[in-house]
Point group: C2
Chain length 237, copies 2
């Protein structure tokens, strides 16, 4: 499978924003920034330092107004997704890029940002398992798959699923051989020490604790999705 000519230079961009979950961005960056014949842009409204949910400081290299038309746009999530999904400047940037991008790629609750931007209507999509039931408010059909491809919209589930999705995207862009080389470089032959990586596999005890911890942000996400959904539907039509 290889849809893009190798000689076409690919412009790949990833959003960063305050209170993001850094791993939603940095996991995919590892693969996407190494795609042959490509340039990676780290994007935000300005070029000031951005702090993730746990304080990691990342610096954008390209402001929205400097960005070229991208072939791939990566949209990560994290608690700060709530503010971004209410920010018309960011939503307009995403919508504008999405019109001609080969792929928009959301990781984790980046899907809810894409939902607020009107990109999810009529699409299959996934997101972090705590937020999966929010997707229908944006007109999407939720999927339990770890990575979902629906035309030019690709979504990955929670946090580390962004790594799986980025290798799939590498294969879509440059073929399986390139993705396999990236996987070997990244030594992506995972051995999770426990079998606790999904709601179906975690113990009831672990699940109820992690779910309780996310309850407040989950309720917020439902509330804001109800507010944004109508606008998102208008945008989709």
């Amino acid at each position: 499978m290889q849809t893009i000519p190798a000689e076409k230079h690919l412009k790949i961009g990833g959003l960063i924003f305050p209170n993001m979950d850094q791993c939603d961005f940095t996991g995919p960056f590892e693969a996407l920034s190494r795609i042959p014949n490509s340039t990676f842009y780290t994007l935000w409204k300005d070029k000031e330092v951005v702090r993730d949910m746990r304080g990691m400081q990342l610096v954008p290299d390209t402001a929205f107004h400097e960005a070229p038309q991208l072939d791939v746009l990566l949209v990560p999530g994290g608690y700060g997704q709530e503010e971004v999904a209410a920010d018309e400047e960011v939503l307009a940037f995403i919508r504008d890029q999405a019109k001609r991008a080969l792929y928009v790629y959301s990781v984790c609750t980046g899907a809810l940002i894409c939902g607020a931007a009107g990109l999810l209507h009529g699409r299959y999509a996934t997101t972090h398992w705590t937020a999966i039931d929010v997707l229908p408010l944006y007109g999407a059909t939720p999927s339990d798959d770890r990575v979902v491809i629906d035309g030019n919209y690709v979504s990955a589930g929670g946090v580390t699923s962004g790594i799986d999705g980025s290798l799939i995207l590498a294969a879509l862009l440059r073929g399986d051989q390139v993705a396999k080389e990236l996987q070997l470089y990244m030594a992506y032959d995972p051995e999770p020490p426990f079998d606790s990586g999904s709601p179906a596999k975690a113990s009831d005890n672990v699940l109820s604790i992690v779910r309780a911890r996310a309850q407040q942000i989950t309720e917020q996400r439902f509330a804001s999705a109800r507010r944004y959904a109508e606008r998102a539907m208008d945008l989709a039509n």
Copy 2:
């Protein structure tokens, strides 16, 4: 398994440096920065922006001279490891911290930095598969395991193995329950799209291409290990 009292506040630090491989740091950060009752310090010689091998810009929050005695020190790798392993200021910081840290945790070729700092003598260790044969020059016994625990020195193999190791470390520090909660939050239930994540699993073709790409840095690593090894042995004694 839980060795550290839950009420003991843990100080966890991670090095960043120019031309590092960001994922060696950011993968473990995702778990380690969420360990209950802990503070995470992002460390370098100064607080200027650091660019990873692919240009991602990270900012340290703590300079070496400001750092407290750490309970855990994370040492990532990447091509910039070569310069760091020759930098006496960094090596002295690592050696000094290692004396009283509960764990030194190297990811990828961070092991070679620890080797140059004299920490590997007589230890079992692992590193990125392209560099595994360099370890004996630093007095270490190489292991093919993805994560190796040898007393207070923990090492993970290439890049993404740092995620597995960080969950193991979370279990060592705070018990299995905490690690399982982190794994569920991170949705770490990996589904690599190909079976190409280790030299044993990759095709000959993929392996020879990725190995050839790393040949120059591998040769450099052997050459510098030969230069640093004697000093490292002296430091170890």
